[in-house]
């Protein structure tokens, strides 16, 4: 590997690893893309860099100008990625984040120098988005990049993650990823659909977050990311499946059998990939690629690998891990 001029040059180009030993179907290969290998520790480094560079290209952010403040709602990973990018580029970040996240997420934001603005934990990310939109109106001087509504989010995956997957796994038949902002699924999904047509299926995995986010007054408090609607997410996806906390943790643990130490959302995504493999007609050859959004480091405090499964499952119900 060549000498990098900046840590930001190390974002992307993550490894893809065959983990078919965990496939329930011998005809279905499963490979996992390890986004935890990004310098800030998650897939969101790609999005953070794309959002900031896009804003610089539009003149919304000016490199070198002092005291430019960005404000962004996040359940953690986008905030951490943005905080790292901002630290390197000299911007200030205010991250609006629900209280119900792991302690490591808070610590990582703080070590990169970001200010955390807390939103109510029971409202989950919906509450963070609501608060951030209000703050953006009150503070027009803050730069609000709004990952949920900014095409530079899926663009990072359309131009980066998607081409890398096709390069490393040209025979891909199924792409499986978690649904958060929908950026990964929209960007990679659209790229693969353009290149492979209907030969590839796009599967979304949703955490049962709506079960845990109990601070909504009614269903009108629900939230669909504008990019999902604007970029035709519903037409792009072939399947969407929900994965429960217990299943997520079980598969997060199973990953260690093949030497992969990943975050809890990866267990959920893998559970979706396993369901996909098991649903195929007998004998049909398939090559499933699943995205691991981050490594396990930020979740050690949850006891996910070491504590009693029932206790960890209960604990996970009050933690936002997507």
């Amino acid at each position: 590997m060549a000498l990098a001029a900046s840590v930001l040059d190390l974002i992307g180009n993550t490894p893809l690893v065959d983990i078919s030993a965990l496939s329930p179907n011998p005809a279905a290969r499963i490979s996992i893309k390890l986004e935890g290998q990004n310098p800030g520790g998650s897939v969101k480094d790609r999005v953070a860099l794309s959002l900031v560079e896009d804003a610089e290209a539009r003149g919304v952010l000016r490199p070198g100008k002092p005291d430019q403040v960005l404000m962004e709602p996040t359940s953690g990973n986008t905030g951490i990625g943005l905080a790292m990018v901002c630290r390197v580029k000299g911007y200030r970040l205010k991250a609006v984040m629900p209280t119900a996240v792991s302690i490591e997420r808070r610590q990582l934001l703080e070590l990169w120098g970001a200010e955390i603005i807390e939103s109510p934990g029971p409202e989950g990310s919906n509450g963070a988005v609501r608060l951030a939109r209000g703050l953006a109106e009150e503070h027009p001087e803050w730069v609000f990049l709004y990952q949920y509504g900014n095409p530079a989010n899926p663009k990072a995956h359309y131009e980066g993650t998607g081409p890398e997957i096709l390069r490393d796994c040209p025979g891909i038949t199924h792409f499986v990823a978690g649904l958060g902002t929908s950026g990964t699924l929209l960007g990679v999904g659209r790229f693969l659909r353009e290149k492979l047509g209907d030969a590839v299926s796009i599967w979304a995995v949703e955490p049962p977050a709506g079960e845990m986010v109990d601070g909504l007054r009614n269903l009108d408090d629900g939230y669909i990311p504008p990019i999902f609607e604007d970029l035709g997410g519903a037409e792009l996806l072939d399947r969407k499946t929900v994965v429960r906390p217990r299943e997520s943790i079980e598969w997060t643990r199973r990953l260690t059998e093949v030497g992969v130490f990943a975050g809890i959302s990866t267990g959920a995504a893998l559970a979706g990939a396993v369901k996909c493999a098991a649903s195929l007609e007998p004998g049909v050859e398939a090559s499933i690629v699943v995205v691991s959004a981050d490594g396990g480091w930020k979740y050690l405090s949850t006891g996910a690998w070491t504590d009693d499964l029932d206790e960890v499952t209960e604990r996970a119900k009050s933690i936002i891990y997507f």
Partner: protein, 91 residues
């Protein structure tokens, strides 16, 4: 056909606090219509006035989102589990 419907916290107050209720129906549409008939407080929360799914509710039959199956026409087998979850964000 009897199916179990799992309710999110936001809808439980309309069902006396229950997290799971039993409802009859052969399709998702029938199940949801009977659910709303039984618990009128959910009217407008699950199905809209024109009978389509509320934008911010996701309905799963055995963990598969029915919007990517056959929508309200998705068949529901005896003993299936129907889950309702509000649309929430991550990231």
């Amino acid at each position: 056909m009897a199916v179990e419907v799992r309710l999110p916290t936001v809808l439980r107050s309309h069902a006396g606090g229950a997290s799971v209720v039993a409802v009859d129906g052969a399709t998702v549409g029938e199940v949801l219509s009977k659910l709303v008939a039984e618990y009128p407080g959910m009217a407008g929360q699950v199905l809209t006035d024109d009978g389509s799914l509320h934008k911010f509710v996701n309905v799963y039959v055995d963990d598969d989102d029915v919007r990517y199956l056959q929508g309200l026409d998705t068949p529901v087998k005896d003993g299936a589990e129907v889950s309702l979850l509000p649309a929430v964000a991550g990231g």
